[in-house]
Symmetry: C2
């Protein structure tokens, strides 16, 4: 728990005076005031997060963490669990959605195994830090022990700090792979937002009506059985969470502690983001919400964090795909600040 | 008028069977069906527009056309008309918003003067095809003659076809610069959508309440005076339009006629898009709406064309800034189709 505590202590609110001074600089560029809308918001917040007057987001890294879920025994997913390791290999070969979109925006994808239920073949680009061979079935008891939940978060922090140091990262995106992981995500969302399970549970990879009804029932019973305590985010993670979710909590905390912006992807990454924010509310200043997921629970999560999604493209793939696209737009905002001419430089007249 | 007629004759509906066959290919890639949402829609439509199985959008060009407006005599803008030529020089030096965002997505900006009210200094990257030294004040009579309106559209077609041939363009974005040009744009929107002027008139670059009330009144009176006929799009352009708007009608038509996708930027570019669609409804198959502008008339235009904006970032700068960002996202969709692994290639199990 020491690593979590010391990381939380390093996280401070961003300097709001930098938001204001950067807006003044943006207002001096050759455009009507505020006319680049959210691009200006992105630029301001990146300055306030990094403390740099002219930040660069050249080095973009997406950390995609994989884990398996015992809850799949209850028949809650359209895909078999064997797809989790198969997709990890797909990430490593560069053939998955996140690889394509990361290449498109100039981001690197780092793949981490924190709980895939089989031993994966070693690969130079795969980081293996398994907490266990998948979580336990939380329909029958906690998904993991409290110690494992702490270890998952701390492992996420360690991996991220190593990546930040080695690669001189400017911006981090979060992503995940884990067959069944919308089920723990909906459970966690219901616990923190206190909304009925059916209002925060969607169809994940695309399940039929019968499976959807079962998924809702499984989550309702699991919350009754395990009684996760929303005042204790680590308890929630342990009882109805997942290892990749815990890992991404650590990624998000490490970003905030190191003044690196974190772009959270969709539903599952936002669950991890919310756990991080529940651990320390200042974390939300460092988070950008990449997109509005099709998963119906996503909006409740973003509302609780007071975050507005950047994109709304009807996506629901996860992996970090939305984070990749959003990073490109945040970078565009920063370039506006760094590269646009001022009224004086361009000899352009101001408002009458 | 011959050039317009021959261009309209070349425009055909896209082949909807290609939309269906491309969806089958997308469904075979390693992701749940439809989970990349609108990226899949972009990929399908680019295939259907180009007729190419694996299209590339590598060569992106934004055509930004400038023109001045006699209506500024009525005091409808927050900026003086001298800003139009000043901003053209800013485009040519690479310091404007559209330059920054075009560089960000790998697009080239082509700057065209079709009616700036002063003679611009010659520049190797500036195309000068003035129809006149600005439009006339349409509060007192038509903005231009019918012959000038036709010439503006035909000039847009000629310039675009030359650029397509010289640069081997894969996708075109539209952009504009013209102090006062939200006033003709709102007038045109009111004429085609038959909505009250105040419902389709916004604050442009940022005018105060008094100027805003005057702008609405000027447009209402100009429509009464000039009686533009919504059944005759060229009449509407002539009576309450602008030269850059006419030029962009031509750009849009030339894109459609040459099977090149056209990304229309914000409010003013969408007015040009709508005139093109009113001339031939099949044009809309070739258009992508870049973003939802803050200008309140924009939604009515997109609704009439049945287009859904790609981005919603509270932008209202014009120039082609939104088109640049949207081109990046459309390209991302095409890369998904071209670069993602199939279930067979990646050895990933399908749905149960």
């Amino acid at each position: 728990m020491d690593k979590i505590i010391s990381t939380l202590e390093k996280i401070n609110p961003i300097d709001s005076s930098l938001l204001e001074s950067t807006q003044i600089r943006l207002d001096n560029l050759t455009k009507p005031k505020g006319s680049l809308g959210r691009l200006e918001e992105f630029a301001k917040r990146i300055v306030a997060i990094t403390g740099k007057r002219n930040p660069s987001l050249a080095k973009k890294v997406i950390i995609t963490i994989a884990g398996d879920h015992g809850i799949t025994e209850e028949g809650v997913s359209a895909y078999p669990s064997e797809v989790t390791p198969q997709m990890v290999y797909n990430f490593l070969r560069g053939g998955a959605g996140v690889n394509v979109l990361a290449r498109h925006v100039g981001a690197e994808v780092v793949v981490v195994d924190m709980g895939v239920a089989v031993e994966l073949a070693s690969h130079p680009d795969l980081i293996v830090r398994k907490i266990a061979m998948g979580t336990k079935n939380f329909a029958k008891g906690p998904a993991m022990s409290r110690e494992q939940a702490i270890k998952a978060i701390e492992t996420g922090i360690e991996i991220t700090e190593q990546i930040i140091n080695e690669k001189k990262v400017d911006i981090i995106g979060t992503g995940e792979m884990g067959i069944g992981n919308t089920t723990p995500s909906s459970a966690i969302t219901a616990v923190f937002t206190n909304k009925p399970v059916q209002e925060v549970t969607g169809r994940g990879t695309g399940i039929d009506n019968e499976t959807y009804a079962r998924k809702i029932s499984v989550i309702q019973k699991a919350i009754e059985l395990n009684k996760p305590n929303p005042k204790d985010p680590i308890d929630v993670l342990a009882k109805v969470g997942g290892f990749e979710i815990g890992g991404l909590v650590g990624v998000t905390l490490a970003g905030a502690a190191n003044k690196i912006p974190v772009v959270i992807d969709g539903f599952i990454s936002s669950v991890a983001g919310l756990i991080a924010v529940e651990l320390k509310s200042d974390v939300k200043d460092y988070i950008f919400a990449a997109h509005a997921s099709v998963e119906i629970g996503h909006k409740a999560l973003l509302d609780r964090m007071q975050l507005k999604p950047i994109l709304d493209l009807n996506m629901r793939l996860g992996e970090g795909t939305g984070a990749a696209l959003a990073m490109g737009l945040i970078d565009a905002g920063v370039k506006i600040l760094n590269e646009m001419a001022s009224f004086e430089e361009a000899g352009v007249s101001r408002e009458k």
